[in-house]
Amino acid sequence: MAGGVPNPDAAAPGMERRALLRGGVLALFATSAGALIWKSANTVPELAPELATPQFVEKLCDMVIPATDTPGAVGAGVADFLPNALRHGLFGGDGLTLGRLAAVLDSKVKPRRFLAMAPSEQVKILEALDAATYAHPGPPDPNAPLDQKLWRTVKSGIVQSYYTTEIGGAKELTFDLVPGSKYRADVGVDEVPYLSNYWVENII
């Protein structure tokens, strides 16, 4: 009865690359991720992604959950955890998810690179993508554009990674593995701290 983890990034990269090579004349240029963007003759952008740079992952982590009075996603180590987690298929991603997102964001600002933009411009770009991704409430649309699928995967991964670190789970929020006598079934919302370890609500 539990819902599954959405898998917006289900296309097999190998298949995608083979499809691309059938597409005809290609153009090639570098991206901020060190990845390659291939462009077919029919102008539909196609990506041959490589790994995202640590700087790019840190930038996204910082933009989603920044340091405030507690450390943010970077301080919590999410930028180190997330690429490995995605490589192992967590959050519906894979080892190419971050690189593909980097290439997508670069393509939005070409010929410049996303990482080279001013912070205010980066925020503007990401806010626009975020708004479009979540324009319609409810489950993810399997037919959503690639940039929105990638963003949903990465953002969700950053959030989930952050609140399951000790900084996010026990310093930003409260972690209590053994409620014991402190347990309350029905209590005023201001009377108890909000726990990070509500398993059904957050992990399932």
């Binding site: 009865m1 806010e127 975020d130 990674s161 026990a170 108890v192 701290p193 370890n197 957050n202």
Partner: protein, 561 residues
């Protein structure tokens, strides 16, 4: 030659533990055989006290590994996760087959304690409505027992395991010996009030759970952690490890053999009795044989059927104790669906603290009393309410400090109602042995044929409509609903295959769970069931096991076996 043991218990899960406890306490020397590795109470719960940041994948687990090797087990997100994956089988290493046109998810825990470590802990008595259901509508074979036969054993079991719950005086769900009930959350209280005001035939009550709310023996009360499937060092829920195994060991008459699969039950045609079992070591492939005066099958519904089907001989060419031809047939599992989920409004000032390891339920109301439906039998709802947590940060718009601020507190309230619909006994739903495929021990692989019928689908359609109606009447906004049944096996309430009955020509077991054809062979796990009701069945398995063991020991002492 004297047998090595008085009794052999095949399996160490919920019923295996009970058999071992009852038989040893009544003076028998018992061998309990478990196919999985040992897990000791407390010291064996390796991830029990770990936080997400103590785990390699922060509690989410290696999704690619799960796709490759735990592709069935990992579907149970409520129970299977990085902390508990060692309590579930590796699907790649433990293959089974599905008959053409069938789909059945077989969830398994191969370790000492079996699925008692990871079960859902919901405990409900069956009523005479259930024990007479097959006879009433003519679907299936009549049970050879009624509620009065089992009631004293329900009492006996509940007092030992500890069940928290509320007495309600409902005919469909007889009351038992309850520890104090757990309290409902705010959204559940609102929906309860509305249901009981607007639907006089229905009630929403707290689940009856083998999570204890008061000390029971040396077992401590529930700490509201919801870490149950990791194993509970407090002993706050019933499991073999926390409850029956210590009792059996305390007698000094129990021998436990782990990492050993039972290949077959041996049978002596001269005496007409089972003589013991043959086994294969899971690690060393060592073949052994053990003898006993009594053999109790508690390997879990599907494996119990498989072992008996493998136990072929000249006398029983189609499986031991299978003169009826019913062995393996009438496999059942509750048809489940997430009937409806609703957002509950007006209580954003309410919250909770801690993780209650329990549901709320709406007991069966269809085809009860004056209610008459086009489909037979009924369904019960199990559900719960919660406020969305920080995970919502990845499901909606927002970035930066504003998002972080928003996630400092809980999100909206929701309440879901999931249905368990009674699964009708159908001879074509069955456990078989594959003709050519073998498992890692070289034994014939299990093949499962299973499909839900129109009655289950009709019940789930009604459940969706009724769940929507109840939530909407309570002012909730229904955000999803469904009548689509989960894959067979998803309820993990698989039962049947060696059904009880008065007629040896149509059933495998008699009224005391003895095989008609082999009286010193007992089957007391889920395989013995000949209807499924719509309640979680484990409490009934336990009661039938205690009752069957009591009867068998009396017969042994009288020389009747």
């Amino acid at each position: 030659m004297e047998p090595q043991f008085d009794a052999i218990v095949v399996g160490s899960g919920i019923t295996g533990g009970w058999s071992a406890k009852e038989l040893t306490e009544k003076g028998l020397k018992v061998l309990m055989i478990e196919r999985g590795p040992p897990i000791e109470h407390q010291s064996g719960y390796v991830n029990e006290m770990k936080a997400p940041w103590d785990m390699p994948f922060q509690g989410f687990g290696d999704a690619n590994l799960y796709k490759r090797e735990y592709f069935v087990q990992s579907k149970k997100r409520m129970f299977f996760n990085e902390y508990t994956q060692q309590h579930w089988v590796n699907d790649a290493q433990n293959p089974y087959s599905e008959a053409p046109g069938s789909k059945f998810d077989w969830f398994r825990g191969y370790q000492l304690g079996g699925k008692s470590l990871i079960w859902g802990r919901q405990c409900y008595r069956w009523s005479d409505i259930d024990f007479s259901a097959n006879k009433t509508d003519g679907e299936g074979l009549d049970w050879p027992i009624r509620y009065a036969d089992v009631a004293p054993w329900y009492d006996y079991v509940e007092k030992f395991i500890g069940v928290s719950g509320s007495s309600e005086g409902l005919e469909v769900l007889p009351d038992g010996h309850f520890l104090p009930a757990m309290e409902m959350r705010a959204a559940e209280k609102i929906v309860k009030r509305s249901i009981e005001e607007n639907f006089p035939d229905r009630r929403l009550i707290i689940g009856r759970s083998a999570n204890i709310t008061k000390q029971v023996g040396d077992r401590g009360p529930c700490q509201n952690r919801l870490l149950c499937s990791r194993g509970c060092s407090y002993g706050a829920y019933f499991s073999t490890q926390s409850s029956t195994l210590p009792a059996a060991r305390a007698t000094g008459r129990l021998t436990v053999l782990t990492d050993t699969v039972v290949e077959a039950v041996d049978y002596d045609p001269r005496t007409g009795r089972a003589t013991g079992v043959r086994t294969v070591g899971t690690k060393d492939k060592k073949r052994q044989a053990f003898t006993a005066r009594l053999v109790v099958m508690n390997a879990g519904t599907i494996n119990t059927n498989a072992i008996l089907l493998r136990s072929r001989s000249e006398r029983f060419p189609n499986g031991l104790a299978n003169d009826s031809g019913a062995l393996g047939r009438y496999l059942m599992d509750h048809a489940s669906a997430t009937s409806a989920v609703g957002l509950v409004h007006g209580i954003d000032d309410r919250a909770y603290y801690g993780n209650r390891p329990n549901n709320v339920i709406v007991p069966r109301f269809r085809n009860v009393g004056d209610d008459k439906q086009a489909f037979h039998r009924g369904y019960m709802f199990q559900g719960g309410s919660s406020r969305r947590g920080w995970k919502r940060g990845g499901d909606g718009p927002g970035l930066g400090a504003d998002l972080k601020k928003e996630l400092e507190g809980p999100g909206p309230w929701s309440l879901f109602l999931g249905a368990f619909a009674e699964c009708m006994p159908n001879a074509e739903n069955r456990v078989m042995l594959h003709k050519s495929k073998r498992d890692l021990q070289g034994l014939e692989q299990v093949e499962i044929s299973f499909n839900y019928g129109e009655n289950e689908l009709a019940a789930l359609r009604d459940a969706e409509a009724q769940a929507r109606a109840m939530l909407e009447k309570a002012g909730a906004t229904v955000v999803m609903s469904s009548a689509k049944p989960d894959t067979g096996g998803s309820s993990i309430h698989e039962m049947g295959g060696a059904r009880m009955g008065a007629d040896p020509k149509q059933s495998v077991l008699n009224a005391f769970n003895q095989a008609h054809d082999v009286p010193n062979l007992l089957v007391t796990d889920g395989a013995c069931m000949n209807s499924s009701a719509c309640q979680n069945p484990s409490l009934t398995y336990m009661a039938l096991t205690a009752r069957a063991c009591d009867n068998a020991v009396k017969q042994l002492k009288e020389g009747a076996l």
